[in-house]
C-alpha cells in the first residue's frame, strides 16, 4: 500500500512530480554549466595565440593554434627577421610555428622532467602507501589490537596537520639527511600522508569482506598469510584500486610540501605550472596547456571513481 500511496500523492518528496523534477534538473544543469565554464575557458586558452589570450574584450571565438603547447615544451630565443631568413627552411611544423613569431627553438623546456617527477613521486608514494595500508588495514580489521581506536585516530590525525607547519621540521630533518629536493624524500613524505587515508579506506573495504571466507580457508589448511593473499586480496581488488587512485590524486595535486621542500631536481608539476613564463609575464597559453595536460588524468580518474568518491572523502565512513 505504501508504494502506491507514495505514487498517488504527486507532490510527495518520496517521488517528485515531473514538474518538480524538471525544475530541479534545470537548476542543477545551470549550476553544472556555470561551474564547468572556468575549466573550459582554460582548455580554450591553451589553443589561443599569445595575443588572443590577452585580448580585450576576452575572445570566445578565435583561430586555434598549437603555439601554447609548443611554447610549453620548448625554450625559444628571439632573433632578427634577417637571421631567420638566412636559416635553412624549418624542418617541422613546430619550427615553422615558432619562426612566424621571429623566434627559434633553443631546446626543450623543463616541463617533461617535472612531469616525470610527478609520475615517479606519485606512483612511488601510492605503491608504498597502499602496500603498508593494506597490511595495517587487514590487521585492524581482523585482529584485536590493543588501543586500536587510539591508533586509528593517531593515524588519521597525522593527515589533518597543516602542511606548512609539518614542513618546518621536515625541512630541517631533510637538510640533515640530504633528502631536500630529492624524489626519495618526497616519496617518503607523501607515503606518510597517504598511508593514513589508505588504512582508513582499506579497513572499510576489508570490513565488508565476510570473515567466513578466510576462516574456511584456514580450516582448509591455509596459513593466515596464504588466506590473505589468495582469499582476501582478490576480494578487495576494487577497494585497493580505488584507494590507490585517491592516493595518486593527492600526490599528483599536492603543492605546499612540493613548493617548500623542492626547488629543481625533484620539483613536481603544481609548483612548476605557475612559473611558466614568456616574454613579459606568465605565458598564459602555455600555462593553460600545462594545466590542461595536468588536469586530464584527474578528470578521467574522477569518472572512474565516481562510485567510491564519497568513501574517499570521508575516510571510508560514509559508504552509500
Amino acid at each position: 500500500m505504501t508504494a502506491a500511496a507514495a505514487r498517488s500523492t504527486a507532490h510527495s518528496i518520496v517521488e517528485a512530480s515531473p514538474r518538480t523534477k524538471a525544475f530541479a534538473g534545470g537548476l542543477v544543469i545551470l549550476y553544472a554549466v556555470i561551474t564547468i565554464l572556468p575549466l573550459l575557458w582554460i582548455v580554450a586558452t591553451a589553443f589561443k595565440s599569445q595575443s588572443d589570450a590577452i585580448a580585450y574584450p576576452p575572445k570566445v571565438i578565435f583561430e586555434p593554434t598549437l603555439e601554447g603547447y609548443v611554447n610549453l615544451f620548448t625554450v625559444r630565443t628571439r632573433q632578427t627577421p634577417d637571421f631567420i631568413a638566412k636559416l635553412p627552411p624549418p624542418e617541422t611544423w613546430y619550427d615553422q610555428l615558432v619562426r612566424k613569431r621571429d623566434m627559434v627553438i633553443a631546446g626543450p623546456s623543463k616541463v617533461v622532467p617535472r612531469f616525470v617527477n610527478s609520475l615517479i613521486i606519485g606512483f612511488g608514494s601510492t605503491f608504498l602507501a597502499v602496500f603498508l595500508g593494506t597490511l595495517a588495514a587487514y590487521a585492524f580489521s581482523r585482529f584485536r589490537i590493543p588501543l586500536a581506536d587510539d591508533l586509528l585516530f593517531f593515524i588519521l590525525s597525522t593527515r589533518m596537520m597543516p602542511p606548512v607547519a609539518v614542513a618546518i621540521p621536515i625541512y630541517l630533518m631533510y637538510r640533515q639527511l640530504n633528502l631536500t629536493d630529492t624524489r626519495l624524500g618526497m616519496i617518503l613524505l607523501y607515503t606518510a600522508v597517504n598511508v593514513s587515508l589508505a588504512v582508513w579506506l582499506l579497513k572499510g573495504f576489508i570490513d565488508e569482506i565476510p570473515r567466513e571466507y578466510e576462516e574456511a580457508a584456514l580450516v582448509d589448511g591455509y596459513t593466515r598469510l596464504q588466506a590473505l593473499r589468495k582469499v582476501v586480496l582478490p576480494q578487495a581488488v576494487t577497494g585497493i584500486a580505488a584507494t590507490a587512485i585517491f592516493c595518486l590524486i593527492f600526490s599528483w595535486n599536492e603543492y605546499a610540501f612540493a613548493v617548500l621542500l623542492t626547488s629543481g631536481e625533484a620539483q613536481t608539476m603544481p609548483p612548476f605550472i605557475p612559473f611558466i613564463i614568456g616574454e613579459g609575464g606568465q605565458d598564459w597559453p602555455a600555462v593553460a596547456a600545462a594545466t590542461t595536460l595536468f588536469v586530464v588524468p584527474i578528470v578521467m580518474f574522477t569518472v572512474l571513481l565516481r562510485k567510491h568518491l564519497l568513501r574517499g572523502i570521508t575516510f571510508g565512513a560514509v559508504r552509500k
Binding site: G25, S157, A165, A192, T223, Y255, T291, L309
Partner: protein, 321 residues
C-alpha cells in the same frame, strides 16, 4: 575460534590445496598476534619517523631563538618567549581573525550551495548522475593549479569574469580588481573556495538525504505534514550529522588553507588575505625565524588536533547509521 564445523562448507571455488612447504610451516608458526603487530608496525614506524619525531624536534625548537638565516649563532633557549610573543602580537591576532572570517564565510556559503544542490539532485531527475559528476570535478583538482588559473579568469582587463560582470551590471570591467582590491580580495578567496568545495558538501549531504528511509516521509504524508514542515522536522534533523561531518572537515581544511590562496592572492593586497598558514610560511621560509614559527606551528597543531578529535567522533557516529 573458527565458526565452521562442516569441512564441506569450507571449500572455496578457485582455491587449491596449499603447498606444505617448509616456508609455509614456518609462517604458520606466527601467531595472529605476531602478524597483527608485523602488519601495523611499518605504518606506525613511518608515521613516527616522518610525523612524530619531527614534531618533537619542532617542539624543542619552539623554545629556542633559532633563526636559519643566522644559524651560525649558538642555539639559545628562551623558554616560553616565542609563545608570549605570538600571543601578544597584534599581527598574529589579525591573521587569525582573517582566517576565521575566511573559514566562517566560505563554509557557510558551501553549506548553503552544497545542501541546496543536494536537495535538487535528490529529486532524481533524468541524467542526474552525469551532471553530478560534472559538478564534482572542481574538488578533484589541484588547489594550487586552481588558484593559478583563477588569476587569469579574474584579470580586470583580459579576464572573462570581469567582462561578464560588466555585461550584466554595466560596471566597466577595468574599474575593479577581484584579487587586487582590499574590499574584494577576501570575498574572492571565498568565491573560488566555494566553487571548488561546494560539491564536497553536496556529496556528503546527498548521502545523508539518501539515508532517510522513505517510510518516514510516507508517514508524514499520511499525517498531512506540509513539505515545509517535512523539511524542518525530517529532512534537516536527519541530515545534520552528515552536514556536521562536511562542516568540520571543511573548517579544518580551510583553517590550514595555503595552496589555493597562496597562488590566487599570495596573501595580498597588503595582508588582507594573509591567512595564518601563509603568515607561517613567511615567518618560517622567508624570514627563517625557525624558533618563532615552530611555536606558531605548535599552536596550530594543537588547534587542529582538537578539531580532528571532534571530527573523528562525528565520523564514528555517522558510521553507525
Amino acid at each position: 575460534m573458527t565458526t565452521i564445523s562442516q569441512p564441506d562448507h569450507a571449500t572455496i571455488p578457485g582455491v587449491s590445496t596449499p603447498a606444505k612447504s617448509r616456508d609455509a610451516r614456518r609462517v604458520r608458526g606466527l601467531s595472529d598476534r605476531a602478524i597483527a603487530w608485523l602488519f601495523v608496525a611499518p605504518t606506525i614506524a613511518l608515521l613516527l619517523a616522518i610525523n612524530i619525531f619531527p614534531l618533537i624536534w619542532m617542539l624543542r625548537l619552539s623554545f629556542t631563538s633559532l633563526n636559519l638565516s643566522m644559524s651560525y649563532l649558538p642555539l639559545r633557549f628562551v623558554g616560553l618567549d616565542n609563545f608570549r610573543d605570538i600571543l601578544t602580537d597584534e599581527d598574529v591576532w589579525f591573521r587569525l581573525q582573517t582566517t576565521a572570517q575566511f573559514v566562517i564565510s566560505s563554509v557557510a556559503l558551501q553549506v548553503v550551495v552544497g545542501f541546496g544542490l543536494a536537495l535538487l539532485i535528490n529529486r532524481q531527475f533524468r541524467g542526474h548522475s552525469f551532471w553530478t559528476t560534472i559538478i564534482l570535478l572542481p574538488m578533484m583538482l589541484s588547489p594550487a593549479v586552481v588558484g593559478n588559473f583563477w588569476t587569469l579568469l579574474l584579470q580586470p582587463q583580459i579576464g572573462p569574469f570581469n567582462y561578464l560582470i560588466s555585461l550584466f551590471t554595466g560596471v566597466p570591467p577595468s574599474s575593479f580588481s577581484m584579487t587586487g582590491q582590499v574590499s574584494l580580495a577576501p570575498w574572492t578567496i571565498v568565491l573560488v573556495d566555494t566553487w571548488m568545495w561546494a560539491p564536497y558538501v553536496m556529496l556528503i549531504c546527498l548521502a545523508g538525504l539518501r539515508s532517510i528511509p522513505d517510510y518516514i516521509y510516507e508517514a508524514a504524508e499520511v499525517d498531512r505534514a506540509s513539505p515545509w514542515r517535512q523539511f524542518w522536522s525530517i529532512t534537516l534533523p536527519m541530515t545534520v550529522p552528515f552536514l556536521m561531518l562536511a562542516v568540520l572537515f571543511r573548517a579544518i581544511e580551510n583553517f590550514k588553507m595555503f595552496d589555493m590562496v597562496n597562488l590566487l592572492t599570495s596573501g595580498g593586497p597588503g595582508s588582507t588575505t594573509e591567512l595564518v598558514s601563509i603568515s607561517l610560511k613567511r615567518a618560517a621560509f622567508e624570514k627563517w625565524r625557525t624558533g618563532y614559527s615552530s611555536a606558531l606551528a605548535i599552536i596550530l597543531f594543537v588547534t587542529v588536533f582538537g578539531a580532528a578529535n571532534i571530527y573523528v567522533k562525528t565520523l564514528n557516529k555517522v558510521k553507525q547509521r
